[in-house]
Amino acid sequence: MILVITEHREGKFTAHSTELIVFAQRAGRDLGMPVHALVLGSAGLDLDGLKTAKIDRILTVDEPQLTSYDPDFYLPAIKAILDRQSSSLIVGGHTTQGMDFMPRLAALLRRPLAAGCVNYEKVGDRLVLTRQVFNAKMNLKVVPKGQGPALVTIVPGSFPGDEMETGGTPEVEAISVDLTQVKPRRRLLGQSKAPRGNVDLSSASIIVAGGRGLKQKENFSLISELAEALGGAVGASRPVVDAEWLPREYQIGSSGQTVAPKLYVAVGISGAIQHLVGMQNARCIVAINKDPEAPIFKVAHYGIVDDLFKVVPSLIKLVRDLKG
């Protein structure tokens, strides 16, 4: 059995949960295994969407301790599910939540964790999982071994959620788990959205974003000038914000803003997966980077492999001439 540990936030399943189901459906077909979706803290959650998925079973646990996420309660709940029925593959999200409990579960079970998977293939009767490593510059193929479950976390965006097979009639089974013996060690004090300031990149139709390749703060004026010439907005990758060249609200990526403009120009951005997930849906992506192996070229439509300090001034001049 393949066990998918779904994620939900504010009473709704996350879009990534659907992607996890898609991975499990495909792996389940290849391995000839049923797919069970586990919903922890299911009280008040709308299961209708999940009920249409072509999977075998939905397991719900709605103990009050599971309403808000706490790994100390998640772990014994998952363990109790596994004790009832053994699983060959446990699937979680490669998200801040998934990577908060999956490694602990692996250590608890003493079973392998293939974290950060983007693809898989079936070789013989085994799964060969492809993990993104070295800042998404390389792929590492691994094969979990031994008796008992293997654990995987799936990178968001790897399996398109709109390819979920529907038309299933999974049986919903509510399971009660005794969590009264677990002593809380963690108290949730609150959640807040980081202030965005006045910068809302989500509505910009052209964005010019700069990265570490700009080398120093002073050089960021190249990005502003190009953005101005194109009539677009300025964005940045995480290292730029960490180095305090620009305030946090300009950051594009998994811990910043997600954007999908008409035109996205990435300058001196190598394209860590955390950045790619925030901009890969742009209609047209241009990458300017001197490293031909930079992952940004994997998502770009047009690329210039050259020194940005030569390319960008030329581009600014050309665009200004055309408009002027």
């Binding site: 250590a107 490593v133 960490d242 210039i304």
Partner: protein, 260 residues
């Protein structure tokens, strides 16, 4: 407070990485090793907590000479002492083994109030080790910390975590606890010349992993292949001089993509 700060030695990400002959990992011979970037933020956080609440910061790493090197750098930054877990095995993908070894060493040293580690490493980059370490110690943990407020009198630590989409979560944990520290949580200090000189006199223990009771987990996962992914991508590389390539680019953006 007694704080452990874990440091992973990685091949300097600024160098050009290539795949080794057996295609199982990168070439490491003759490469320069540095502390994995996020671990510097963890050490800086540990030093700040010590400066506020007194106590000691112990830097901990697993590996051969590369581990000794990053530990010496940690001492130069201001840690009080270092423990190197020597391991003759290649370590590539074995977060499991690293996490258990770190946990056993912390226990052998008498435990701690806090263990800090970088949110993820520059090589595998999955962020698993710190969380596994917490399980092996049996302690509570919090990941992706951007702000840490220790309260040793109350036996707690307050942590702000950075979740997806700019959501900040605030949690309070009871000590002892393991925290993984996010990139940019602080500005790591540079080692001063004085710090580098003082580091030479600080206690530096070397323990063998074989003496720590770490189980052999090699049987858990095989590495089949490390490869640079195929660029089956859609990208069209525009070549020529900078003037030629940008002229071509603007033309394509206007006529082909129709976005200008």
């Amino acid at each position: 407070m007694k704080i452990f700060s874990c440091i992973k030695p990685v091949v300097d990400p600024a160098t050009r990485l290539s795949v080794n002959e057996s295609r199982t990992w990168i070439k490491t011979q003759d490469m320069t090793f540095v502390a994995s970037e996020a671990d510097n933020y963890a050490l800086e956080e540990a030093l700040r907590i010590r400066e506020k609440h007194s106590g000691e910061v112990v830097v901990l790493s697993l590996g051969r000479e590369e581990a000794a090197k990053v530990l010496r750098a940690g001492l130069a930054m201001g840690a009080d002492r270092a423990i190197q877990i020597s391991d003759s095995k290649p370590r590539n993908a074995a977060e499991f083994r690293v996490a258990e070894a770190l946990a056993r060493a912390i226990q052998k040293d008498g435990g701690a109030d806090l263990v800090l580690a970088g949110v993820q490493s520059d090589d595998l980059g999955t962020g698993a080790t710190g969380v596994m370490l917490a399980e092996f110690l049996g302690w509570v943990h919090a990941t992706v910390a951007i702000a840490v407020q220790a309260n040793p009198e109350a036996g707690t630590v307050q942590v702000e975590r950075e979740l997806e989409g700019g959501v900040i979560e605030s949690v309070e944990l009871s000590l002892p606890a393991v925290l993984t520290i996010q990139y940019g949580a602080n500005q790591p200090r540079y080692a001063s010349l004085k710090g580098i000189m003082a580091a030479k006199k600080k206690p530096f223990d070397v323990w063998s992993i074989d003496d720590l009771g770490v189980e052999d987990n090699d049987a858990l996962m095989d590495i089949k292949e490390l490869a640079i992914p195929d660029k089956k991508s859609r990208v069209e590389i525009l070549s020529g001089t900078p003037e030629e390539s940008v002229t071509l680019l603007v033309e394509k953006l206007r006529k082909e993509a129709k976005v200008l």
